[in-house]
Amino acid sequence: MITPALVSVVDDDESVRESLPDLLREFGFAVRAFSSAEEFLASSCVVQTRCLILDIVMSGMSGLDLQRELTRRGQEIPIVFITAHADKTVRPFLLAQGAVECLFKPFTEKALCDALNAALGAR
C-alpha cells in the first residue's frame, strides 16, 4: 500500500481550512489543516509534510516568517503560497525566495493541481 503524500494547509481562514483539504483528498493526498504557523510548527507533521500550502498574511507569524523558520531549521518543504491579497508584485519575490508557486485566491483546481505537481515533482 502506498501511503498518500501529506499536504499541510496553514491558513487562518476557516473556510479555506474546510474546503481545501476536501479537494486535496479528492486529489488523493493526505491532508492536515492548521489555523496558524505556530500550530503547524508545534505539530508532528512538519517532517512528514511533502507540500505546504501556506497563507501569507496571518495574525501572529506570517507565511514568510514560517518559511524563514523552516529554512532556519533545515526543513526544506516545498511551499505553495496562497493569498487573498491580489498583489501581483509579491509573486516574483516569493518565487525568488524559493517558493514553488504563489496562488491568488480564488484559484482554479487546475492551478492548484499544477502547483502541487510542481512541488512534488521538484522533490
Binding site: 481562514d13 474546510e18 474546503s19 476536501d22 479537494l23 479528492e26 487573498a84 491580489a86 498583489d87 484559484f107
Partner: protein
C-alpha cells in the same frame, strides 16, 4: 371921590369908595368878591393898587397899606413877568391877557382883564389869580410819564404804531419809522395801508384791524414777508391790541411788528436739518434694508392697515402705488405654505405673541423666494392689536446653504471613495476569501459527484459550503455598496456598537495586514443616536485607518489599537479610537481638522475635516488628544437626541430655535 376901606368879618378890602346910594349893593358886591377863592387885584392906569379882595390878602399876602402903592413895589406882583407891559397892552387894547407865575411853591395863572367904566373908559386892569399848582403838577407828571413812555417805546426794538379809528397813524416809535424809512412828520395822520400797503398786503390783516377798530378784541397774529429798503427780506409777525381811552369814545389800535426773521431762519434751518436727518436716516434705513434684504411692516389688525417698507415692496414685487392688504400678500404665498401662513394670520388676529416663521413666496414669474419673518404682536399705545415685524429674503442664503450642503456631500463622497480606495486590498481580501472557498468547494463537489460511486453526501456538504461562502461574499458586497453609495442623508436611530462592528469587519483584514492588534470594548447600555448610519461609519472607518497608518512605522512596540464606546452622564454617546502611533505635536492639534492638512504621503487631508463636519452635523464634537504614552486618541461624542426633536423638515412650520438647529443640521448633513 375917595374910597373907604371896608372891613367885614375880620377881613377887609381896599376897594375904592362907593356911592352911598349904592351902599347896600356895594356891600353885597364886596361880600361876593371876598367870598371868591381867587385873589383879585385891581390896578390903576398908573399900575398903582386900586383895591383887592380878601383872597388876595390871604393868598398873596397883600396888606391894606398896599393900596395906592405901585404894583412893582409889591414883591409878589413884581414876580409876574412883564406885568406893567401887559397891563398897558390890556388897558390900551381892551383885550384880555394871561400870564403864568409862581409865588413860593404855588403856580398861578394871572388873567389880566381891562377894568372898564360904564362910559366905556378903561380905568385900569383887573388881575385874577387862579391857583394852578395842583393842575400844573399833574400836567408835569403827565408830560413826564409821556416822555418816559416815549423813551420806552423808542427803545423797544419792535416797531409799534397806534392807529386811529380810520386806520391812520396816530403815533409810532422810532423802530417803526426806521423800518419804513420815514419820519414822524411824514406819517402823522397818514393811513397805515397807504404807507405800507405792500408790506401789510394780506387781506386778513386789514379785515382783522377793521373788526378790532369796530370793537373786537380778538386778533389772530399775521405773518408777513416783505423786502424793506436797507433791511432786506424780513418776516414780521403782526399783532394788534385795542386801546380804549377813558372818556373817549374813539377806539384806537396798537399794532406791533415783531421781527421774527431770525427765528424763522433758525426754525427753517432746524426744520431743514431735521428733515435732512430724517431723510438721511430714512435713506440709511432703506439702504440697510436693501443690503440686508430685510423689510419691515406693521399691521394694525383691527383696522386692517398695513405699513409696508420699500424693501418689502421689492421682496414681494408689489407695485408701490397699490396699498398692501392681507389678501394681496396671500397671492404671493407659496400654495404649499398657505395653510401655515393662514395659521400665523389667525393667531396674530386672535392673540398676538411672537412669531418666527419661514415660508416661501411664489412670484408671478414662477420663481420661488424663501423668506424668514420675525414678528411680535401686541397692543400699541392706543390699545389696538398690532403686529410689527421684519421679513428677510433668505433665498440666497438658502441657495448657498444648499450649494454648501451639496459641496460638503460631494467632498464627503470624495473622502469616502478615497478611504475606500485605501481599503481596496482589504476589500479584495474580504471578497477573495469566500470566493476561494466557493471555487474550491465547487471543484470538490464535482469531483465527489464524478467518482464511482458518487460521493453524494460529500458533494451535498461541499455544495452547502459553497452556498454559505456565496452568502458571505454577498454580505461583503452589501456592506461595500452601503459605504460606496452616494445617497441623500438619512435620519434614523443608529446603534453605534453595531455600526462600529460592521466597520471593523470590513477593515479587519487591512488592520491585520498592518499587524495592528485590535482591542474593542463596547458598552452594553449604549442608547441609539439619531443620524446617518453610513456617515457615522465613514467617520469610524476614517479614524481606524488613520490610527493604523499612524502605527505603520512602529516596530519597537505592539501596534495596539483600542476602540471603545461608552455613554456619559449627560446622555451623550462616545466613541474613542486610541493608537500607539507617531502621535502629533501639540501645536498642530487645531490643524489636524483643517481640510488638506495631512502628515501622510498618500493622504488628501480631507478625512478628518469631513469627519468633523459630519459629527458636528450630528450636533456632536470630534476632538484629538495626545496619549500619556506614545500615540494619539481621537474621540467623538454625539448627544442622544430626545424624541421628537428630529422632526420632519419643512418650511411653513412655526419654528423654535431648537428646531431651527435641527433643520440646519439635517440641511448640512
Amino acid at each position: 371921590m375917595m374910597t373907604q376901606p371896608i372891613t367885614r368879618n375880620g377881613g377887609w378890602t381896599g376897594f375904592q369908595g362907593v356911592n352911598g346910594d349904592n351902599a347896600a349893593a356895594t356891600t353885597d358886591l364886596i361880600n361876593i368878591l371876598d367870598a371868591v377863592e381867587f385873589p383879585i387885584v385891581v390896578v390903576r392906569r398908573d399900575f398903582g393898587i386900586a383895591c383887592f379882595n380878601k383872597a388876595a390878602a390871604d393868598v398873596l399876602g397883600l396888606l391894606p397899606s398896599d393900596v395906592g402903592r405901585a404894583s412893582r413895589d409889591i414883591s409878589v406882583l413884581a414876580r409876574v413877568p412883564r406885568l406893567e407891559e401887559q397891563c398897558s397892552q390890556v388897558i390900551a387894547g381892551g383885550v384880555e391877557s394871561r400870564a403864568n407865575f409862581r409865588a413860593g411853591d404855588k403856580w398861578f395863572v394871572v388873567r389880566i382883564s381891562p377894568n372898564t367904566k360904564g362910559d366905556g373908559q378903561v380905568t385900569g386892569a383887573v388881575l385874577t389869580f387862579t391857583n394852578v399848582t395842583a393842575f400844573r403838577a399833574s400836567f408835569d407828571q403827565a408830560i413826564y410819564e409821556r416822555e418816559c413812555t416815549k423813551a420806552i417805546l423808542n427803545t423797544v426794538a419792535d416797531p409799534l404804531v397806534v392807529l386811529s379809528a380810520d386806520q391812520r397813524i396816530q403815533s409810532a416809535n422810532r423802530a417803526f419809522y426806521e423800518m419804513f424809512g420815514v419820519s414822524r412828520d411824514e406819517t402823522q395822520g397818514v393811513p397805515l395801508f397807504e404807507l405800507a400797503d405792500a408790506a401789510l398786503g394780506p387781506t386778513p390783516l386789514r379785515t382783522q384791524l377793521e373788526e378790532m377798530l369796530a370793537g373786537s378784541h380778538a386778533f389772530q397774529p399775521v405773518e408777513v414777508d416783505h423786502v424793506f429798503a436797507g433791511m432786506g427780506q424780513r418776516t414780521l409777525l403782526l399783532d394788534a391790541h385795542p386801546l380804549s381811552l377813558p372818556g373817549h369814545s374813539e377806539r384806537r389800535v396798537l399794532v406791533t411788528f415783531q421781527d421774527i426773521t431770525a427765528r424763522k431762519q433758525t426754525e427753517a434751518a432746524e426744520r431743514k436739518r431735521a428733515q435732512e436727518k430724517l431723510r438721511h436716516s430714512e435713506a440709511f434705513l432703506a439702504e440697510a434694508q436693501y443690503l440686508s434684504r430685510i423689510g419691515n411692516f406693521a399691521w394694525r389688525v383691527a383696522a386692517d392697515e398695513i405699513t409696508w417698507s420699500e424693501q418689502l415692496y421689492r421682496i414681494f414685487e408689489f407695485d408701490q402705488a397699490v396699498p398692501v392688504t392681507v389678501d394681496l400678500i396671500r397671492t404671493r404665498v407659496h400654495p404649499e405654505n398657505l395653510a401655515a401662513w393662514q395659521d400665523v394670520i389667525d393667531r396674530a388676529r386672535r392673540e398676538g405673541g411672537d412669531f418666527d416663521y419661514e415660508s416661501r413666496l411664489l412670484m408671478p414669474d414662477g420663481s420661488v423666494k424663501h423668506i424668514h419673518m420675525v414678528a411680535h404682536g401686541g397692543r400699541n399705545q392706543d390699545g389696538e392689536l398690532e403686529l410689527i415685524g421684519a421679513v428677510q429674503d433668505i433665498t440666497d442664503n438658502r441657495r448657498s446653504e444648499e450649494a454648501l450642503s451639496k459641496a460638503q456631500s460631494e467632498l464627503a463622497h470624495v473622502a469616502r471613495v478615497t478611504t475606500l480606495g485605501a481599503l481596496t486590498a482589504s476589500i479584495a481580501h474580504e471578497l477573495n476569501q469566500p470566493l476561494s472557498g466557493i471555487v474550491t468547494n465547487a471543484s470538490t463537489c464535482l469531483r465527489m459527484l464524478a467518482s464511482d460511486p458518487p460521493n453524494v453526501d460529500g458533494a451535498r456538504e461541499t455544495a452547502r459550503r459553497t452556498i454559505r461562502d456565496g452568502n458571505r461574499a454577498s454580505e461583503v458586497i452589501t456592506r461595500l455598496r452601503a459605504l460606496f453609495a452616494r445617497k441623500e442623508a438619512a435620519t434614523e436611530p443608529v446603534d453605534l456598537n453595531e455600526a462600529t462592528r460592521e466597520v471593523l469587519a470590513l477593515s479587519s483584514a487591512e488592520l491585520r495586514r498592518n499587524r495592528v492588534i485590535l482591542q474593542a470594548e463596547f458598552a452594553d447600555d449604549l442608547p441609539p443616536v439619531t443620524g446617518d448610519r453610513v456617515q457615522l461609519q465613514q467617520v469610524i472607518l476614517n479614524l481606524l485607518l488613520n490610527a493604523s497608518d499612524a502605527m505603520s512605522g512602529v516596530d519597537d512596540r505592539p501596534r495596539q489599537l483600542a476602540v471603545r464606546t461608552e455613554r456619559d452622564e449627560r446622555g451623550s454617546v462616545h466613541l474613542t479610537v486610541q493608537d500607539a502611533g507617531v502621535g502629533f505635536e501639540p501645536q498642530n492639534v487645531d490643524k489636524l481638522f483643517e481640510p488638506f492638512y495631512t502628515t501622510k504621503s498618500g493622504g488628501m487631508g480631507i478625512g478628518l475635516a469631513v469627519s468633523r463636519s459630519i459629527i458636528e452635523s450630528h450636533r456632536g464634537r470630534l476632538w484629538a488628544a495626545r496619549n500619556d504614552g506614545p500615540g494619539a486618541t481621537f474621540s467623538f461624542s454625539i448627544p442622544c437626541a430626545p424624541e421628537g426633536v428630529m422632526g420632519s423638515r419643512g418650511f411653513g412650520a412655526i419654528r423654535t430655535p431648537a428646531v431651527t438647529n435641527t433643520e440646519h443640521t439635517v440641511r448640512n448633513s
